[in-house]
């Protein structure tokens, strides 16, 4: 083998090689320091998680199948002082926070609505939130989730009380460990209530995953993304955004292939999961109100 090393050590050639790499690769983040060209990402060498999760038997974290077993939830309001209202939610390992700004003047004049306010939602995943490092640039999944969040929250807010204004809801997912959209909806409605924005009702979210004949409620990341290789009839996921006091559904997102009965049963299961969350959310809100204004004996 000819030793070609010493020949190609000239600086000009290396610069040219780097330029060639950059030119022919997809435009990536050029502001961050990347490793040398010969380095490889460690995720290539890590062993894949089990591609198939058993569809019978207990779940990995000890919850039961075919039962409405949602993960215990930790919620706090009012953590971000710069925002008008904020909330932080932890469900198992899923952690996310939401900030609400408004009502303020709309940014763009041509989108001002005279009769009612505008709701702007934005959902972002932190790059360290998923198993594989994501980018700061918003992908299509972020935009998709933002749109679904908007759809779920809009019916609940009394927008007609805020004409010519804009209410901004920003959700940031710090760790994605399953059923992110459902918890984002809950967290966002908590932040809106904390901000003092008038709403018809709180919006609670719950998701489930159907795997053949059994289902799991509030799936974790593994349970959400590992499809059963044996193609069963019913395989899919469902997320429901629910208004408990008014008994209305404001958002429904589903993927996969499920029969009609499975879907309706799944919706009912998710509603039950929302009812289980309701007392925890109420308690967190009342705690935040009491902390902000402890005056108990005012007439």
């Amino acid at each position: 083998m000819i030793n070609i090393g010493p020949i190609f050590q000239g600086k000009r050639f290396r610069a040219g090689l780097v330029a060639w790499f950059i030119y022919f690769n997809m435009p990536t983040d050029t502001k961050r320091v990347r490793g040398p060209e010969v380095s490889q990402s460690p995720s290539l060498f890590s062993c894949d998680p089990a591609a198939v999760l058993p569809s019978k038997g207990p779940r990995a974290d000890g919850r039961r199948r075919d039962q409405v077993d949602v993960r215990p939830v930790f919620v706090r309001c009012g953590l971000v002082s710069q925002a008008k209202g904020s909330a932080y939610l932890e469900a198992g390992n899923t952690k996310l926070m939401c900030c609400v700004y408004g009502p303020r003047e709309t940014d763009r004049k041509d989108e001002t609505n005279m009769k009612c306010g505008r709701l702007t939602t934005d959902m972002r995943f932190a790059p360290f939130s998923c198993l594989e490092r994501g980018s700061w640039i918003q992908g299509s999944q972020d935009k998709d989730f933002s749109l679904m969040l908007h759809e779920s929250l809009q019916p609940a807010i009394c927008l007609h009380k805020y004409p010519r204004s804009q209410i901004e809801v920003n959700v940031m997912v710090l760790e994605n460990s399953g059923s992110v959209l459902a918890h984002a909806v809950t967290c966002a409605s908590l932040a809106l209530a904390d901000a003092g924005i008038e709403m018809y009702d709180l919006v609670l979210g719950c998701s489930m995953r159907q795997d053949g004949t059994s289902y799991v409620v509030d799936p974790s990341y593994m349970e959400e993304n590992c499809w059963n290789s044996v193609s069963c009839e019913n395989q899919g996921g469902l997320t429901v955004a629910f208004l408990p006091s008014l008994n209305q559904i404001s958002g429904l997102q589903s993927d996969g292939e499920m029969t009609e009965e499975t879907l309706t049963a799944g919706v009912r299961t998710c509603i039950e999961g929302c009812y289980k969350l309701y007392p925890v959310i109420q308690h967190a809100l009342t705690k935040a109100v009491r902390k902000a204004a402890p005056s108990q004996s005012e007439s």
């Binding site: 904390d194 408990p244 109100v289």
Partner: protein
């Protein structure tokens, strides 16, 4: 008093036959529901039924509404209008600034066509105004100062800072007799008065109070007396 009840949005408070809905609540199917997270307040206001409302101790975000008196700061002037930032609605400060416009014809009630905006306002003045319209999609809130209690309340002169109450109400604030008035900015005055005051101020020795005696609606002057 017994401790007040807390509620979250969507809580059913009572039936519409027991109470009248106030603020922070909404009516649906004959029941009153809460729309805020806060304390439930029941007040007997002399009518048959008590008024039920939900209050949060933190200041509720008010939006400038038609007919509200707002405090704003002039940001730019134009021969046709003055642009302002609305800072307070009533006595509640706004967290975010809303923009408003005072048109030339809304500066004062008399002699509207002879108004010169650069003589009535200067950038940085604090103005009390009233919202006449929410405006349309392209424009900002429309404000007016064409009333007795409205107009410039704080202005900065080149000689130094001073503060004055609006002329029409009375000038108890001008206590310090060495105050130098650069220019009278009360927009409800006629041009002639402006000139007179300018002339007086160049003397730099205006010691006294200005009290408006009468308010003539139709045309021209307000009769004022100047005490030296």
């Amino acid at each position: 008093m017994s401790p007040m009840k807390l509620c979250v949005p969507g809580d059913k408070l009572c039936s519409a036959e027991d109470c009248i809905p106030g603020t922070g609540v909404y009516l649906r199917h004959g029941y009153i529901y809460s729309s805020l997270a806060g304390y439930v307040l029941r007040k007997n206001e002399g009518e048959e039924l008590p008024v039920i409302s939900v209050v949060r101790e933190t200041e509720t975000q008010l939006l400038p509404d038609v007919g509200a008196i707002v405090t704003c700061k002039v940001t730019s002037i134009n021969p046709r209008f003055a642009k302002v930032h609305i800072l307070y609605v009533g006595s509640t400060p706004l967290k975010d600034r809303f923009r408003g416009t005072i048109r030339k014809e809304d500066v004062r009630a008399t002699e509207k066509d002879k108004v010169e905006t650069y003589k009535s306002f200067r950038p940085g003045d604090i103005v009390l105004a009233k919202v006449i319209s929410l405006g349309d999609v392209q424009s900002n809130y429309l404000l007016t100062t064409a009333e007795n209690e409205l107009g410039v309340v704080v202005a900065h002169s080149e000689a130094g800072k001073y503060q004055m109450h609006n002329m029409a109400i009375g000038l108890e604030a001008l206590e310090n007799s060495s105050t130098v008035l650069h220019r009278i900015l009360a927009p409800c005055w006629t041009t002639r008065w402006c000139y007179l005051m300018d002339y007086l101020s160049t003397e730099k020795h205006l010691l006294g109070l200005l009290l408006p005696l009468e308010d003539c609606d139709n045309t021209c002057e307000k009769h004022v007396s100047v005490f030296f």
